[in-house]
């Protein structure tokens, strides 16, 4: 038994914890949970919890259906919303095969494996997401167009509205769970909010994102409303993304930093950025995995659909933030394609792999693009060498299917399953007659 496990056992005993939730994430990025009683914990640390994975997305296999959930004791947190007389805790799990090897469908271990590869180069990967989401009166599709809780806009300070209160409670909960929040504010669209998490190492951050989604939804539900990370829930206003700030460290050193460079970016930083751009189209099916994700890109706002980078250009996929002087450790790039419906373990794996490929293959960084790409047509953009991101899930899947980088990074099992699952999603969508079609065609044809 490790010291960490001993610590958890002791805490469970001292605090009278009644229930321990074991969390893991399926391939599509949905949080799953199995609860155990404290009496089982000792044995679970030793042996794991065996369960049938068949019904979990991405966990089913031909030969063996049972897998083991092994809790990671370093992630133990008491749930701040549990009743005082019924303390509960949670731990994230790794999923193993019965023979003790890593289960190839476990996103958390896919990220661990990729972080290990980065460590082989001496790098630690840090991420800081800006999570956007909407509050609505209801999450029931049957109630029609979702109704926002407020009509405020970007940075508005609203005094009496419910949603600011929801956001405040959410932040307290996150902080209590050791998830520091850097900023939070009202976003551009009605009832749209943003919570920016303070950077941490990518595995912790992926865990934190899973926790954040749950906490945001839970607090909303407690107040009788609904929170959603759906990328584009409303027509005519911007959708929700998850711009994410990325950096690599070698020990204490931020390896993206070079004070003498025009952009403050080191050769490594340039190569990483070049890698991310070069492979962006291949990984978009994962970073933006819903049919709906591509509606966000169509809004011409903070969702940049063009493979380009710049310091200040909201139509570019990657931003290299201009930094305050004397903060070398804050050198970073911002990947602006991601949305909040992604599986963060898989998305971080792919972005990291793309960036590392840029470093190992010494990719050249294309020139900075300072024109508004939204105002150009395809032909003009092509002339300056700018490609669009895939315009639909269908196109994204086609491109991903050809990507050796995506296949190697995700592993055969997840790569194949993901493509199969998403092809089905697309086919089902294609078979639907949408309100748009009825509105436009029924009376005219």
């Amino acid at each position: 038994m490790s010291r960490e496990q001993e610590y958890v056992l002791r805490t469970v005993e001292e605090r009278g914890v009644r229930l321990i939730r074991l969390w893991f994430t399926d391939v599509l990025g949905q949080l799953k949970s199995v609860a155990i009683s404290p009496a089982e914990l000792d044995a679970v640390f030793d042996e794991g919890v065996q369960f049938d994975g068949t019904a979990i997305d991405g966990f089913s296999r031909v030969h063996e259906s049972d897998v083991l959930a092994r809790p990671d004791a370093t992630t133990f947190e008491l749930l701040p919303w549990a009743k005082a007389d019924e303390p509960s805790g949670r731990m994230f799990c790794n999923i193993e095969n019965l023979d003790g090897t890593a289960f190839e469908g476990d996103p958390r271990q896919i990220l661990q494996r990729n972080l290990q590869l980065a460590r082989g180069h001496g790098y630690t990967f840090f991420a800081a997401p800006e999570a956007e989401f909407f509050y609505f009166e209801s999450g029931d599709p049957a109630s029609g167009r979702p109704t926002p809780l407020d009509r405020a806009s970007y940075f508005d300070l609203t005094t009496s509205d419910v949603s600011s209160d929801l956001r405040k409670t959410t932040i307290h909960m996150l902080e209590a769970m050791g998830i520091p929040v850097e900023y939070s504010f009202h976003e551009d669209s009605p009832s749209q909010h943003e919570i920016d998490l303070r950077y941490t190492e990518a595995l912790d951050m992926a865990d934190n994102i899973m926790t954040l989604r749950l906490v945001v939804k839970k607090i909303a539900m407690d107040r009788g409303c609904y929170a959603t990370f759906m990328p584009k829930p409303l027509n005519g206003v911007q959708g929700s993304g998850m711009h994410t700030h990325l950096s690599l460290f070698e020990g204490e050193q931020n390896v993206f930093h070079d004070p003498d460079d025009e952009y403050g970016l080191s050769a490594t930083g340039r190569q990483f950025t070049a890698g991310v751009l070069h492979h962006a189209r291949e990984i978009t099916a994962v970073t933006n995995q819903l049919v709906n994700s591509y509606k966000r890109f169509a809004e011409k706002s903070e969702a940049p659909p063009f493979v380009a980078w710049a310091r200040n250009n909201r139509s570019a996929l990657v931003r290299v933030p201009v930094r305050k002087a004397g903060k070398p450790e804050s050198a970073r790039i911002e990947y602006r394609g991601l949305d909040g419906a992604t599986n963060p373990y898989l998305a971080f794996s792919l972005i990291l792999a793309a960036g590392l490929r840029g470093i190992t293959e010494r990719y050249d960084l294309p020139t900075e693009i300072n024109v508004n790409l939204f105002e150009m047509n395809d032909h003009q953009r092509r002339e300056i060498g700018i490609e669009p991101l895939p315009r639909s899930l269908d196109e994204a899947l086609d491109i991903m299917e050809e990507s050796k980088l995506a296949r190697d990074t995700l592993g055969e099992h997840v790569f194949e399953w993901f493509l199969r699952n998403k092809r089905t999603e697309w086919a089902e969508f294609q078979a639907q007659v949408t309100p748009f079609e009825l509105d436009r065609y029924l009376s005219t044809w």
Binding site: E4, R10, R15, A176, I179, P180, D204, E252
Partner: protein, 225 residues
């Protein structure tokens, strides 16, 4: 926990400071009688005996310890460099010795060596600092009596800092002492955990851990500054 016996009384200030900063519990005694009258129920786990300018008193006390007049676990003798010859044929009177004046790091190493190894003494099992209380036996921490929900590494970091109030640690030192050298995350990890700890301490108490610009972190203030 049971304190260490220190001779003479009052203890030399630099010794008192080093023991306090190292988190050792101790009590000074002026002579054998006092050492006996203040002896804890299970005896003293150890003694630090300073053989100063008049080493005879110190050796006498050592001898009384060896003959069982007062029950003491291990004896660490502190002796001036000029008097090392007086140790000849007195090797039976002490378990280890340290040059006096001592270097705090050496003293700390010898204390740990003697008392950790024999398992006779451990650090104080309760840490109390202002609103913060930590029970090292049960791994629990509380602020103003309200339990803190910490992960293992947050707990270890807080424990380490709280055991050394006022002392400034670099990120590297914290990383190597709290996480161990082989931890891959780099010194950034320390910043991340300090920030997490602060958020759990709550706004009101977040400043228990101070950022020392371009150096590292410190906890509270030392009673020695």
């Amino acid at each position: 926990m049971d304190p260490l016996l220190v001779f003479p009384s009052p203890a030399p200030p630099e010794l008192a400071q080093a023991l306090d900063l190292g988190g050792w519990a101790w009590k000074a005694a002026a002579d054998l009688d006092q050492a006996r009258s203040e002896q804890p129920p299970d005896g003293w786990v150890g003694a630090l005996i300073v053989a100063g300018n008049e080493p005879d008193d110190a050796f006498r006390l050592c001898r009384s310890i060896r003959s069982g007049d007062v029950h003491v676990g291990s004896v660490l003798l502190l002796i001036g460099g000029g008097r090392l010859a007086s140790l000849d044929f007195r090797e039976d009177l002490f378990d280890d010795f340290c040059l006096y004046p001592f270097h705090p790091v050496e003293l700390e190493a010898r204390l740990k060596h003697l008392f950790r190894r024999t398992g006779q003494a451990e650090r104080a099992e309760i840490i109390e600092y202002g609103p913060l209380g930590m029970n090292l036996e049960t791994y629990q921490a509380a602020i103003e009596g309200k339990p803190l929900d910490l992960t293992y590494m947050e707990y270890e970091l807080l424990r380490f800092l709280a055991q050394h109030p006022g002392k400034v640690f670099t990120r590297e030192t914290l990383l190597s002492r709290v996480w161990g050298y082989d931890y891959y995350g780099g010194a950034r990890t320390v910043d991340v955990h300090v920030r997490r700890l602060r958020s759990k301490l709550g706004e009101e108490h977040a400043n228990l851990i101070q950022t020392v610009r371009s150096v590292g972190y410190s906890f509270g203030t030392s009673r020695w500054v």
